[in-house]
Symmetry: C2
Subunit: 269 residues, 2 copies
């Protein structure tokens, strides 16, 4: 390290206590920040110019050799840097197998009107997703499929939950993400002349038979309840994925990636 | 319960100790059995006429009201039934949130030659998958896509790992599953005139441009290393999935489901 770094060894240190608290939503929202744990996730945050406020590291947990460079990069970008003892880091780490890096990043709120969209946008709308792991996986899928934005309607899980950050492998920082109410989203999509395709097992049309080109929003329901009445009634076209096996073999993350990549196929022809 | 049931309350009970041991592969293989935890998974095992040898239950953990009927069904099918105290069940449970049901089932070994295949089989071959959760998710995908069998080559993870059973949501019992060496699998596929399509980022052909109809085996590599030299050299056609975002946004389970459902689409036209 080029500069002297404060070393924290006490489990009673107020910063340590605050990091543990940030696993819960209310303290996160009150502080307006969230946790970013892990080399890959922090690297992606820095790549996307996210202004990390704090970076905590513990060399005894490091897995590779690139950590010091990342720490210097974070410091140069304005983060306060702290070294933690092995035991202290174990307490603040959220992961079972920590890699000795944990950052604090500012939360953000983006409005629908702030999205910059191409002429034929390709959007993913997810409704009331309950499990942070599913939301993170869905963000990865949207990134891989090249969605222009992901819109999270009426969220049950907080997009800044540590498990979302983790399951998204940091894609949270690169995919434009908006949280909004379903009614507002529907009105906005209508105004933008974006067609809405909603996946539901009750639909007659196969997802492969629907035209997924042009301005498009794919709408996915929640794990337990599927699509709400609102989207079932207001989506332009309900479609279904054919199922060969057990009725519940596809979870929402799997159904999402299947539908997204069919859209990619059609849109690239 | 119709019949008297032995109740186990001691953490030192040999059955309790054995159940904990069965989380590890060697004791599983030595005993020739594996753990099936949870209502849904046990129900599927019974549906598929798997001869559960033992069933452990603990009413204080039950989540619903159908557990007694399932227990009676297991007993009628020949399982030894034991009641555990709440604390004892907490020790043997593998899940973070147990539902009070844990069974022991016999392992099986199925050879390639034992597979009964249709004229144009639709197979999934996975090579050296490392993470049990990925293998379980892949089994779910194969079930949903209607694969005739899943062939696990040169496995790194044991198909009877509790996390495979769990992530597969019991589909392990319904999808025909064979473990074999890559060379034997390749020879067998050649003899059966099954085309092999291997997914690798280095391929020129897009997976959507390949003909995925007729006798088909989709071959997927491991999480960390991708396809082995053997399959890269011996597969009939390498294909790739187009990637818009971060290079690692698609994991092997996601790449598998995308490829499987493109095959489903082509095969249903």
């Amino acid at each position: 390290m080029g500069l002297p770094v404060e070393k924290i060894t006490s489990l009673q240190n107020p910063r340590v206590k605050q990091l543990v608290k940030l696993r819960d939503r209310r303290p996160r929202d009150e502080a307006g920040v969230f946790l970013v744990e892990g080399y890959r996730e922090i690297r992606r945050a820095l790549e996307k110019k996210v202004a990390l406020t704090e970076l905590y590291f513990s060399p005894e947990w490091f897995l590779g050799e690139n950590e010091p460079a990342l720490i210097e990069q974070a410091r140069a970008a304005g983060a306060q840097v702290f070294e933690l003892s092995k035991e202290t880091f174990a307490k603040v780490a959220y992961r079972e197998r920590p890699d000795g890096l944990l950052a604090v990043a500012p939360q953000w709120r983006r409005a629908l009107e702030e999205l910059t969209l191409p002429a034929a946008p390709f959007l993913l709308v997810v409704e009331a997703i309950e499990k942070p792991g599913n939301l993170g996986t869905i963000l990865r899928s949207a990134d891989a499929a090249g969605c222009d934005a992901v819109i999270v309607c009426d969220p049950v899980t907080d997009i800044f939950n540590p498990n979302v950050v983790r399951a998204s492998t940091g894609v949270l920082f690169s995919v434009p993400l908006v949280v909004a109410e379903s009614t507002a989203v529907h009105t906005w999509l209508k105004a933008k002349k974006v067609r809405t395709i909603a996946t539901t097992p009750a639909a007659e049309t196969l997802y492969t038979a629907a035209d997924l080109r042009g301005p498009l929003a794919i709408v996915m329901g929640s794990e337990q309840y599927g699509l709400s009445e609102f989207w079932l009634k207001n989506a332009d076209l309900p479609v279904r994925i054919p199922m060969a096996g057990q009725a519940d073999s596809l979870n929402v993350a799997m159904a999402t990636i299947i539908t997204l990549f069919e859209a990619v196929r059609q849109r690239s022809v």
